[in-house]
């Protein structure tokens, strides 16, 4: 048996690509500094929790996006706030970039370190410190997933905002970034659920905000004074690493019911009025619009099962989940929803929940937890590798038009006629916010990342669709600026096009420079040139 000496026994192998060279002339992350930092990190965190081995770094170099791969130079697994402080201090001392990492579960390559450095994987910090059942909040570490926290809160008749992403996403990073959830319309999103947190700032200092910043009770409301919590929402890890967060929880209703409004006509005009009617009434806990593809993905327990289900499902779904204190209350709410929808969109019919249950009836999708865990069957898991998203925001009526235009642009790009995507391939999702005042559209194309042709045409299509979305006035949200800052024309012309946005960008830059003097925390653009060296997106 071979294997005594691995290196000498290796057969000759042609290494064609070592994708670990990040910058031509490294000012940050120089080899000698990396070596010193590595040793100090080992001393601070323990040898076990720091690695610069290629076998370890390569697992952080790719995600489900199509962003080109990049290895971090070092992976560090902090176990406490003190560990994170050590990482930041060492990184500052040696000018090593730090990339905060929650679960890495995103579709934009946000945790792929563009120039290497230290990847700070917080999954060891998975403590649920406290769940206050009576006063409805909890305090957790950054390594806690929605699945874990929801499991614990449901035991206590509480629930958290579960976003429409994998249940394995980390709660804290999601609250700081996207947090698109079917509960958003009623309860708000992102910052609305954060009571306070501890954050290790890029300069290595620890900041506490929220009531605990002066030893007060976690009494839910922001303050004292200026809402400092907002510093972290939308910063995409460029402004520090949260090590503890207190999150608001919501009552899990005693009775829940779902009557699903459906419509099988290709009429997109009926959706916004129906959604708006329910949103403004605000008597449902969750709601959203799903195209049949989404519904099939939610209900099917596997890809195959979903593909089988989707074509058989009606085209449009408005999904109001009604909850209440008593059976009678919930029934009344359901009836009011029906009346409200029919008053504005008479084409809708109503599918009883039992029918939905029969359709799913799988081993994996327990219908009782359908709305409480977005997991297995969500699109993230559906695709072979990745999915492309067109997204935007507008008032609800605007979303319908936006969807049509994006679909057309995408179809044209991929060489088909308008609206001829197979139902299996494309899906639209509208998420209303703030009682129907505004909505978010997500427009997904499910692609096979292993098929280059599929990839290419979808990339082209997505660019076209996103362009149309912009042209129509829709804009992204959820903190994309940290990704766009330094990106050539966007950077230069933002102030010219929108003076207020230019002023915002100035503040953004100045604050970044104050708090991250060495530009180490998720470095994407250089202070000297105000430019990205490589596109982060």
């Amino acid at each position: 048996m071979k294997g005594k000496d691995i290196q000498t026994d290796l057969r000759e192998r042609k290494i064609i690509k070592v994708p670990t060279i990040h910058e031509l002339e490294r000012v940050h992350n120089t080899p000698e500094n990396l070596e010193k930092a590595y040793k100090e990190l080992q001393d601070a965190l323990g040898e076990e929790w720091v690695s610069n081995d290629f076998n370890i770094t390569l697992a952080y170099a790719r995600d489900q996006s199509v962003i080109p791969m990049n290895h971090p130079d070092i992976v560090a697994l902090p176990g406490s706030t003190d560990d994170v402080i050590s990482i930041m201090r060492i990184a500052n001392k040696y000018k090593i970039d730090v990339m905060p990492y929650g679960s890495g579960l995103n579709t934009l390559g946000l945790t792929i370190p563009p120039y290497g450095g230290i990847l700070c994987d917080t999954r060891r910090m998975d403590q649920i410190f406290e769940i206050d059942e009576e006063n409805m909040f909890c305090t957790i570490g950054p390594g806690v997933t929605f699945a874990q926290l929801q499991t614990e809160t449901l035991k206590r008749k509480l629930r958290l905002i579960n976003p429409s992403t994998s249940a394995n996403a980390m709660v804290i990073s999601n609250l700081c970034m996207g947090n698109i959830s079917t509960l958003c319309n009623k309860y708000g999103l992102g910052l609305d659920h954060i009571i306070g947190y501890k954050v290790v700032l890029p300069d290595g200092n620890l900041m506490v905000c929220g009531p605990k910043a002066y030893g007060a009770d976690n009494a839910h409301v922001p303050g004292p004074g200026p809402d400092v919590r907002a510093f972290i929402r939308g910063s995409l890890g460029t402004m520090g690493i949260i090590t503890e967060m207190t999150i608001r929880l919501y009552p899990d209703p005693d009775v829940v019911e779902l009557v699903v409004p459906i419509c099988d006509e290709e009429d997109w005009g009926i959706i916004a009025p129906a959604l708006k009617a329910i949103c403004q009434r605000n008597i449902v806990i969750e709601n959203a619009y799903f195209q049949n593809t989404y519904m099939g993905i939610f209900l099917g327990e596997s890809n195959l099962e979903s593909s089988r289900l989707i074509p058989a499902l009606p085209r449009h779904y408005v999904v109001p989940v009604t909850g209440g204190y008593s059976e009678e209350e919930v029934n009344i709410k359901g009836e009011i929803c029906k009346q409200d929808i029919l008053a504005v969109s008479p084409k809708f019919e109503f599918m009883p929940w039992e029918t939905v249950e029969e359709m799913s009836a799988g081993r994996l999708v327990g219908i009782d937890k359908f709305t409480k865990f977005f997991r297995e069957s969500v699109r993230v898991q559906r695709v072979k590798g990745s999915f492309f998203v067109g997204f935007g925001m507008d008032h609800l009526e605007g979303l319908t038009e936006l969807n049509k235009a994006m679909m057309k642009a995408m179809s044209t790009q991929v060489g088909t006629d308008e609206n001829v995507f197979s139902a299996d391939l494309i899906a639209t999702y509208f998420q209303p916010y703030d009682q129907g005042r505004v909505g978010f559209i997500e427009f997904d194309i499910f692609i096979d990342q292993t098929n280059p042709e599929d990839m290419l045409r979808t990339i082209m299509g997505t660019v076209a669709a996103q362009g149309v979305s912009f042209k129509m006035g829709s804009r992204p949200c959820f903190g994309v600026w940290p990704l766009l800052e330094g990106a050539g024309p966007v950077h230069d012309y933002i102030g010219l096009l929108y003076p207020a946005a230019g002023n915002y960008a100035d503040v953004f830059r100045d604050m970044k420079m104050i708090y991250d003097p060495n530009n180490i925390c998720n470095r994407r653009w250089d202070y000297e040139t105000m430019r990205m060296k490589k596109a982060a997106l």
Binding site: L58, A59, T145, S302
Partner: protein
């Protein structure tokens, strides 16, 4: 004569689409969310949970497979260390396959085959097991003739000379003597009590070579596979019964489709006999214990209910379920060659299971795998029982 292979050889690159398309969705890193009962026991992957770097989870190992086959790096001792830290418990694939149709565990196994083929695997610590298999046809370091020694006092039919309907494949672990001899006696007594016509091969019984397969030594596994099949078929028995989940997995997955015999696990037989009232338990077994699903019996061979049926039939026995049970069962830590390669990880994994047993209020743990039992016994925590031992006890006088 044309050499029969147990199954078509697969290459790592056959699964390129799988490991290339892994989106790091993290499904391979926790148990099924709808089966989750607590955050504490939500993790599923022993090596990943212990070491926490992404590379120790299936998602990271998919990257290693991708990087290696994309010629991005040379394998190093660390590569081998990582891929041999996996217990091959199959829970990652149990999560991933139903939805994304990815064969994560299979890929890790093929990574090991690649390692062996290219000479950078298995690890030094595995060499004694392979040497023992070569020299004495068992991976446990037992001297030759141990099977004869175990079987002789039981006075069973020798199917190299006699005929019986069923061939009991004892497996190396149950023939290892010492405490295991009692388990073997229990198994034999159960079969006798259930009025099953069976015999054994004695010293002629070969090793199933499950270890070779797990370590990626497919050549070593296949070396004797054909002869073994010939031997089994030559007994004229219609069914091959085994009590060892590791043997069962090999015999079922690798042999059954290529020979004229049915392979079953003893609990399948017991469950049937219980249902038909051909087997009855009369003596009380006063115990509140959690049943640990062995990975090979549960996820690999999908036998979950039969052992439970048997346990529920024991008078006085109170079955407690682990939070992570059935498809979501946490591994004992012994499998996949980890016990030899990384004893600390292996012991940690077992201790984690024991903590879980305490958390669900169990006073003891029952399992149906000799390797799991030994592993838990070493943890020196709660008492550990073998399923057959309890059954034999419940049969009371009938067992004699």
């Amino acid at each position: 004569m044309e050499k029969r292979l147990t199954r078509k050889r697969e290459k790592l690159t056959d699964y390129r689409d799988d490991y290339w398309a892994c989106g790091k969705c993290k499904m391979c890193q926790s148990i099924h969310v709808q089966k989750m009962s607590s955050a504490r026991f939500s993790y599923n992957c022993p090596c990943g949970t212990r070491y926490r770097f992404e590379s120790y989870y299936a998602a990271g190992m998919m990257e290693i497979a991708r990087g290696l086959t994309n010629f991005e790096f040379e394998p190093t001792p660390k590569t081998a260390e990582i891929i041999y830290s996996c217990n091959l418990c199959g829970l990652c694939q149990e999560m991933c396959y139903p939805l994304k149709t990815m064969h994560t565990t299979k890929i890790i196994q093929l990574l090991r085959e690649k390692a062996v083929e290219e000479g950078w695997g298995p690890l030094e610590a595995h060499q004694p097991m392979l040497a023992s298999t070569r020299d004495n046809d068992n991976a446990l370091g037992l001297p030759s003739g141990f099977k004869e020694k175990a079987v002789k006092p039981l006075k069973l039919k020798d199917l190299t000379k006699e005929k019986a309907e069923n061939l009991l494949f004892i497996g190396c672990a149950y023939a290892a003597g010492g405490e295991m001899q009692k388990r073997l006696e229990s198994i034999v007594n159960i079969l006798k009590a259930a009025d099953i016509d069976f015999g054994v091969l004695g010293n002629a019984e070969p090793c199933c070579r499950s270890f070779n397969l797990m370590l990626g030594d497919r050549d070593g596994f296949e070396e004797r596979a054909f002869e073994n099949m010939e031997l089994f078929e030559s007994t004229g028995a219609s069914t091959l019964i085994t009590a060892c989940p590791h043997c069962l997995q090999v015999l079922k997955d690798e042999y059954e489709n290529y020979m004229n015999m049915k392979v079953i696990h003893i609990t399948e037989l017991i469950a049937k006999q219980l249902k038909e009232k051909k087997l009855q338990f009369t003596s009380e077994v006063k115990l509140k214990a959690a049943y640990h699903d062995p990975c090979m019996l549960g996820r690999w061979c999908e036998i979950y209910n039969q052992p439970r049926r048997a346990l529920n039939a024991l008078p006085g026995f109170e079955l407690v379920e682990f939070e992570r049970n059935l498809e979501n069962s946490w591994c004992c830590g012994a499998g996949g060659g980890v016990k030899a390669a990384d004893p600390d990880l292996s012991a940690w994994t077992a201790a984690e299971r024991m903590t879980e047993a305490r958390a669900v209020g169990a006073e003891a743990v029952v399992t149906a795998c000799p390797h799991c039992e030994a592993q838990f016994a070493e943890a020196k925590d709660l008492p550990v029982y073998d399923l057959y031992e309890l059954m034999a006890k419940a049969m009371g006088e009938g067992a004699k």
